[in-house]
């Protein structure tokens, strides 16, 4: 399992493929109070990012991939900011 529900966070670890999106969506629906921790993720499928954009949880942690941390995460945060305005 790469998407897991912890006590204090929903964590993504390792290579998170498209097949995990239902799990993630399930957790996001049930536990909107929990942040999502990306620190352990090595890759995150687009479908998962889309889920995060729909549910807009608090996202923590910096993934190891420079593209993910340098480009995708800022783009995601920028989207959250824009959609709140």
């Amino acid at each position: 399992m790469t998407v897991t529900l912890q006590d204090d966070a929903i964590t993504l670890t390792g290579a998170c493929g498209v097949e995990e999106v239902e799990n993630l969506v399930g957790y996001l629906e049930r536990r909107q109070d929990l942040p999502v921790d990306l620190a352990g993720a090595t890759s995150i499928h687009t479908a998962l990012w889309q889920a995060l954009m729909v549910f807009k949880p608090v996202v923590t942690g910096t993934p190891a991939s420079s593209f993910t941390s340098g480009q995708v995460l800022p783009a995601f945060r920028a989207y959250l900011e824009e959609s709140q305005e």
Binding site: Q50, Q71, A75, S83
Partner: protein
């Protein structure tokens, strides 16, 4: 302001030329991608320059033209006559405007009035071919790319980039796509944004397996690299190359090569180069004064000093000669500068005449002095129009004579030693020597008996005689009251010759031979009264001192005997209509010159020094003065008129 306008005019002429070249090339080969890019670049740059000024509707016209080209680049509209005709009309319009703009700083009224027509032409285009793209085709760059670029450029970047808009297909996750992972493969990614196409679907409507994403990015990689990343999903991606604004207000669609590429070409005011040539010329004169010093030193018994001066003289001579040839070289430009103006003119003229003509240009890289290249435009234009109008037959006639329906006009240049040879050849009906003879007789250019002795070739040369050009031949094209005599005169004033060959039924060829540059000529300075004139030494066979009593009156003229030949004698002051000096000196100095097959003596008051100088053809008001070959500047800064004895005698 004036300087800006002048700069605009210079640039605009070049860009108009560029666009015209490219559009004409596209007409021949609509798939020529680089020509399309070239035309687009030219129009785009022109638009940018025009935007700096208030040229009324010019900006709008250029904007529309640019739109069309941009759509053609995107493959949205076809490259055919419907597209090219209006664009060529725009180019011709701008070309016509430039002179007025250069003078007044404003779009001339005549051109302003034509603008609505051009806008009409251009918009018909859009409506016809591109009904669905009209909406977003208002600007050459789609809005999404512009706003994306602005977001990126606000961070202070101005490199050339590709804007990417990727809308993954809704079912893309099922086909195994991972759009963000695809983005990760992009080279040099500068900006990324992701958003939901339809914002915040209600939780019930949200399907995590369907993509509802819009991904935009800026990559500083090459277009080819970016295209390669999306090669499997081209239908879901839009790409737009954008060049850095380089100080401009907005993004530009393609890199402007001319401004980006470091150039080894420097634009120099030709007056500065002319000044260098003058100085080099003066240096030659100054150098010549060293020669007598050698003799002086020797006469004073100072042999070693004489040798030293002689050695320096040789060194300086060599250096001055190479300086002179280097600065002369700086004035050389390729004939292309003049030649490239013809394709469009030929096209327009042919259209007016209802003829179809292929213009073949060869040897445009041959170089010659700038003044020669630029002065060639008018005479060549005249010859070309002559060929189009009188030479090449109407299509139906050509077909009847089993000629190709399309007329063929060749403009060919070659370098031959220190001369250039330019041919203007058409494959038209040719000149009929019998008709030419009849015309020449009817116009009183030759008598019937004279004409009978002339060969066909000689008869054809009569076409260059003033007054030959017939009223019947005057049309609004080649007519204008200008005959071939004017062509010949202008070529001769450049130191060249024109020759005409023609075969009835298969065409006419004019051959122009011109010097490559105004080289140094050796002049003999002669005095008449208080005036001094230069005569090219090459024209003078010998000089004689003639006692007054040796001059014999012959009918109204005078003659003298030279080695048992009777030589007619003319007096230079008569030829120049100068007042006769009161006291006739004892001896007359006579220059023996050859005019045609005959020797003629020309009397002058005195023969002064010889000089090696650069003779420049007359310009401006003096241009039409016959008998004067040009002017030259002497070492003491005085201007000397150089005579054309042959013309003077006639």
């Amino acid at each position: 302001m004036d300087e800006l306008i002048a700069q605009f005019a210079i640039e605009a002429r070049e860009l108009v030329q560029q666009a015209s070249d490219d559009l004409l090339a596209l007409e021949g080969n609509p798939t020529g991608r680089d020509r399309l890019e070239g035309a687009f670049r030219a129009i785009h740059t022109l638009k940018g320059s025009a935007a700096l000024f208030e040229f009324g509707p010019m900006l709008r016209v250029l904007h529309r033209a640019e739109d069309l080209l941009s759509q053609a680049r995107a493959g949205k509209i076809l490259i055919n006559a419907n597209l090219l005709e209006p664009l060529l009309a725009v180019i011709a319009w701008i070309d016509d405007s430039i002179d007025g703009i250069a003078q007044a700083g404003l779009l001339p009224d005549a051109q302003e009035r034509q603008a609505p027509r051009l806008l009409g032409l251009l918009s018909v285009e859009t409506a016809d071919h591109d009904a669905d793209a009209v909406g977003d085709a208002r600007t050459s760059i789609p809005d999404w790319a512009t706003s994306l670029y602005q977001r990126f450029a606000s961070s202070g970047n101005d490199e050339t980039v590709v804007a990417i808009r990727y809308e993954p297909h809704a079912e893309c996750f099922f086909s195994g796509d991972d759009p963000i992972a695809t983005m990760a493969r992009l080279p040099a990614i500068r900006h990324l944004s992701v958003s939901l196409k339809e914002p915040a679907p209600s939780p019930g409507a949200y399907d995590p397996f369907r993509s509802n994403l819009l991904i935009e990015a800026i990559s500083a990689g090459s277009l080819a690299e970016v295209v390669a990343v999306f090669r499997l999903i081209p239908d879901q991606v839009k790409l737009e190359p954008i060049s850095g604004p380089a100080g401009g207000a907005g993004p530009t669609a393609v890199s402007d090569n001319t401004s980006v590429r470091p150039s080894s070409i420097m634009r120099v005011d030709s007056a500065r180069i002319d000044r260098l040539i003058e100085i080099a010329g003066e240096l030659i004169t100054a150098k010549n004064r060293l020669a007598p010093l050698v003799d002086d030193a020797r006469n004073h018994g100072n042999g070693p000093l004489a040798r030293q001066i002689a050695a320096s003289h040789t060194d300086i001579e060599r250096l001055v000669a190479s300086l002179y040839s280097a600065v002369t070289q700086a004035r050389m430009i390729p004939l292309e500068h003049t030649f490239r103006r013809f394709p469009r003119l030929v096209r327009e003229t042919a259209l007016k005449l209802g003829k179809t003509i292929d213009l073949v240009i060869e040897g445009e890289t041959v170089e010659a002095d700038r003044e020669i290249v630029e002065s060639l435009f008018e005479p060549l234009l005249h010859l070309i129009r002559n060929g189009l109008d009188h030479g090449i037959e109407a299509e139906a006639d050509r077909v009847q004579q089993s000629k190709p329906a399309r007329g063929h006009l060749v403009l060919r240049a070659r370098q031959r030693g220190d001369q250039i040879e330019i041919e203007v050849a058409d494959d038209g009906c040719g000149m009929d020597p019998q008709r030419a003879k009849a015309t020449a007789i009817a116009r009183g250019l030759v008598s019937e008996s004279q004409a009978a002795t002339l060969s066909e070739r000689e008869i054809l040369q009569l076409a260059f005689a003033p007054g030959f050009s017939t009223a019947a031949a005057v049309t609004d094209l080649s007519g204008r009251g200008v005959g071939l005599d004017v062509v010949q005169r202008s070529i001769q004033s450049l130191g060249g010759t024109v020759d005409l060959r023609s075969t009835v039924g298969s065409g006419t060829t004019f051959t122009l031979r011109l010097p490559i540059s105004f080289s140094m000529t050796r002049l003999m300075v002669v005095e008449v009264g208080d005036e001094r004139y230069g005569v090219p030494i090459a024209d003078v066979i010998e000089t004689q001192k003639l006692p007054m009593h040796a001059i014999q009156p012959v009918k109204a003229g005078r003659a003298f005997m030279l080695r048992n030949r009777t030589i007619p004698l003319l007096i230079l002051s008569d030829l120049l209509h100068l007042p006769l000096p009161d006291a006739t000196p004892g001896d007359l100095k006579v220059l023996i010159v050859k005019v045609g097959p005959d020797l003629i003596g020309i009397g002058v008051d005195a023969i002064a020094e010889r000089a090696e100088t650069l003779t420049r053809p007359l310009t401006g008001l003096l241009k039409g003065v016959s008998g004067i070959a040009g002017t030259t500047l002497l070492g003491d800064g005085k201007v000397l008129l150089v005579l054309n004895l042959e013309e003077l005698i006639q």
